[in-house]
Amino acid sequence: MEPELRDYVGELLDSGTVAGVLALKDELGAVKPYLFTKNNEIGDLVLTSKYPLASVMSMLQKEDPSIKLAIVCRGCDERALIELAKRNQINLDNIVFVGIPCDEEMADKCNCLQPYPKEIVTGEKLSNWVPKNNYEDFKNMSTEEKLIFWKGQLEKCNKCYGCRNACPLCFCSDCELENALWVKHGRLPPEFPIYHVIRAFHLAGKCVGCGECENACPVGIPLMTLNHLLREDIKDLFGYMTGQDIEDENPINTKEEY
């Protein structure tokens, strides 16, 4: 997959279609986000890991709103870009999507619902893919058990803000998680459950299920359980799935016309 992708991306640069390509670069084993601007660097472009590239794209655009860039994106990256665009954080007109599907190993690791973008440049999307974990164990718990479960899990939180920092949809410059009115400063673990409830509520209708928060969490809190249930609710209540189409109206941010 990588060689074809490198050809494709090289062509985008050579033809002047874009000024740069945002992707991952392998620098002596360190895989990091990188803006490729020259064809001769393309050899270092890799697909071996995953990174919240949408946030990086948003930052690049904020620095230079007119610049046209391509992004090598997985399903979750594409969904994040679309949700960001709905919130005026990114301009899709200046982005060329270079979509790639995730392989089974990656999709399994993320327990991803949709491990591919809308359009794929190279590679095969997994057919008939269904994630293995459907959170039945959690759903089967009684309310009391759920409370005990979350109390236990959230007591581990060391308020590192890693979940928020990694999240592509947490784009606020002033974050309510740092507002002492809600989350007392200098207290560990944060008061149950406000910290995580604020984040969950703020991500309702926004979370694209990329799993970056859970990946980032140093103490292994199963944040994706919360996110998964939230996404299910948004779908059941409003028929809304995040990141599908820029035209779909986000149900949380609409008002009823009477």
Partner: protein, 649 residues
């Protein structure tokens, strides 16, 4: 910080269920509380004086009154504390009547709840910040939308008070529905005789700028300063040259070929026309949908109207005009439309030509109407006439549960007029209930019954045709028996629905609608001419089905509210509005989507949102949704609300 707390007995309203001395005891000595007193009626003069005196003597800087709902007396006490030199926004009210004494039965528990509520108000009051209202200059002119009897009356009243008034009417003439009637219930006044003089007054009034054949395209701004864009449609006739002689209409090649809207499609007109002889302004208008020249580029060798018009008033090159005006207040008087009975298939409207609606029949009575006022329906004089009431009203099945209020009476009027013109006619009114609520209405109904019009209770089930004869099947609910009547004319007592323009006008002005889809007044009893949008008022059938007297009365009411506003040089803008912390805003536009009033504006340069202070109503929708917490609601800051909550949990 010195908080004064005053507990009201409200006579026995509160004191019966709340142990007031106990509340005073619990509150005295609380943090920041400088004094806590009780009194029979805090809103009375002595009660208010007590507060004023304490502010002056003790230097209180916060005041809490525990009494009734703030909707009731918050304005009273704000004025009281302001009188004594305290900032009115440092006043806080605890509701221990509606939310406590009135809804509880256990005195001990009610007392404890009252204590909690007062403590919670003290906590909030301690965090209140003084706010200053801003002054907004007022543009001394008004816009009236809709030139029916309501709009006409409102415009005349405002103009007579000395203010410039723009009256916008979408049709070629003002007059509205009333101009279509010959006689009006219950007095049988000639409609034209009482309406035409008013229409002429409008046209001649030095303070009225009449914009007919015009539509409101866009409105922004707010109370005191609305900016309005109006589209003036081309008439293709020069208003300064047209003398209203009507030779053009006589000459038009399409004369008598186009169905006349004013005559409800029964009468015919040409492509150049005036809707009716008393039209104001008396200016001819070319209908571009039908005019041969405008539609096909060719009208014989040359357009006949142009040939015959001596003053040369025909102007095929006339273009749409856009006019910008500034006004301080707006009256919405867009009136109603007749319910379209096509959906009531059982009555055969549109299928049988002798089934007609109330408004259609009005045109038959008019001396200038399609039959010259003679009761001729499709060529013959009807002898067996049936009226069916409540068509499209009080009908849950079609979604119109409301009563249209005028149908019972216009049916009585029309039955009377038919009986007068055709004395040997058999006239039956099939009615649901008789509603003759107005002055002189019951008397008129009695008179009509005495004239030999039969009223049978129970609504019609079906109209059907057999051997070219119509029959109406109904059930007499008083006798409890079904019956059928032959009919050569069936008149449907069609109800009233809002003007279709209510949608666009409502959106432009952010007006709310009630369940019946008419415009919603600010309060059903106490503010029937106001809307929730300051500076926008309602008149006539736009607000709900109404007869002419009520439309005129409401119009005068709306006009007086407009004048109350326009006489002021400046108005005070409420400081309880949203404020944005531009440093924290990430420009996600969530607030823009949610604000019902278009108050948040996106600043393209700074990539953040700012709030239009004059437009924001302080509803708080934006602040609740802003993810980054960048919006602060004055007077309802998070800290203030949290402090209040913490005291009761």
């Amino acid at each position: 910080m010195k908080v004064g707390v005053y507990i009201c007995h409200c006579g026995v309203n509160i004191a019966n269920m709340v142990d007031i001395p106990k509340v005073v005891e619990a509150i005295s000595g609380q943090t920041n509380v400088a004094v806590c007193k009780e009194y029979q009626y805090m809103c009375s003069d002595p009660g208010q004086n007590m507060i004023r005196k304490d502010i002056e003597d003790m230097g209180l800087d916060r005041v809490v009154v525990a009494a009734c709902s703030p909707r009731m007396h918050e304005p009273t006490f704000r004025a009281t504390v302001a009188d004594a030199g305290m900032n009115p926004y440092c006043f806080e009210m605890a509701n221990i009547r509606e939310q406590c004494s009135w809804v509880h039965e256990d005195k001990e528990e009610a007392t404890q709840k009252a204590i909690d509520l007062v403590k919670s108000s003290v906590a909030r009051a301690s965090l209140l910040e003084p706010l200053q209202s801003t002054e907004i200059p007022v543009t001394h002119s008004a816009l009236v939308i809709g030139g029916g009897i309501a709009g006409i009356q409102a415009a005349l009243d405002i103009a007579n008070s000395g203010f410039k008034t723009y009256l916008v009417e979408k049709e070629p003439s003002i007059g509205g529905r009333m101009a279509q009637f010959d006689k009006t219930f219950p007095t049988l006044d000639c409609a034209a005789c009482i309406l035409t003089p008013k229409m002429v007054d409008v046209a001649r009034h030095p303070n009225i700028d009449l914009l007919t054949y015009s539509e409101v395209e866009h409105i922004d701004g707010s109370i005191g300063n609305f900016h309005v864009q109006i589209k003036k449609k081309p008439r293709y006739v020069d208003p300064d040259l047209c003398t209203g002689c009507g030779l053009c209409a006589e000459a038009c090649r399409l004369k008598g070929r186009i169905s006349s809207e004013f005559d409800m499609g029964i009468g015919k007109r040409g492509a150049i026309y005036v809707p009716f002889p008393q039209a104001v302004p008396l200016l001819y208008t070319i209908d571009p949908e039908n005019c041969l020249l405008l539609k096909h580029g060719k009208c014989g060798k040359s357009p006949k109207c142009e040939d015959i018009c001596d003053p040369g008033a025909i102007r095929f090159d006339q273009e749409e005009e856009h006019i910008d005006i500034d006004v301080g207040a707006i009256v919405v008087a867009t009136g109603y439309n007749e319910f379209s009975p096509v959906v009531k298939e059982e009555y055969g409207y549109g299928k049988f030509k002798n089934v007609m609606t109330g408004l259609e029949l009005e045109r038959i009575f008019s001396p200038s109407g399609p039959t010259g006022g003679n009761p001729i329906i499709n060529g013959t004089e009807p002898k067996n006439i049936v009226f069916i009431s409540c068509v499209g009203s009080r009908d849950k099945r079609i979604g119109n549960p409301y009563c249209s209020r005028v149908c019972c009476m216009y049916i009585a009027k029309q039955a009377h007029l038919l009986k007068e013109k055709i004395p040997d006619a058999n006239i039956t009114v099939m009615y649901t209930d008789m509603r003759a609520f107005g002055k002189g209405y019951e008397e008129f109904y009695e008179r009509v019954q005495k004239e030999g019009i039969r009223y049978r209770r129970g609504n019609a089930a079906e109209v059907y045709e057999e051997d070219d004869l119509l029959f109406v099947r109904a059930e007499d609910t008083l006798l409890g028996e079904p019956y059928e009547l032959p009919a050569d004319l069936v008149v449907l007592g069609t109800g009233l629905v809002p003007s279709p323009d209510a949608d666009s006008i409502g959106q432009m002005l952010h007006l709310s609608r009630s369940a019946d889809k008419f415009f919603l007044e600010a309060h059903p009893k106490l503010r029937p001419v106001d809307t929730v949008i300051d500076g926008v008022f309602l008149a006539g059938a736009a607000q709900g089905p109404k007869d002419i007297p009520d439309s005129v009365a409401q119009a005068s009411g709306a006009a007086s509210h407009v004048v109350n506003l326009l006489v002021k040089e400046k108005i005070h803008a409420e400081p309880i509005i949203a404020e944005i912390n531009e440093d924290a805003c990430v420009g996600c536009k969530t607030c823009i989507v949610l604000c019902p009033y278009e108050a948040p504006l996106y600043d393209d340069e700074k990539k953040v949102v700012t709030i239009n202070r004059a437009v924001c109503k302080g509803c708080g929708s934006c602040a609740a949704a802003c993810p980054s917490g960048s919006i602060k609601m004055n007077h309802f800051k998070n800290e203030q609300i949290v402090a209040q909550i913490l005291e009761v949990i």
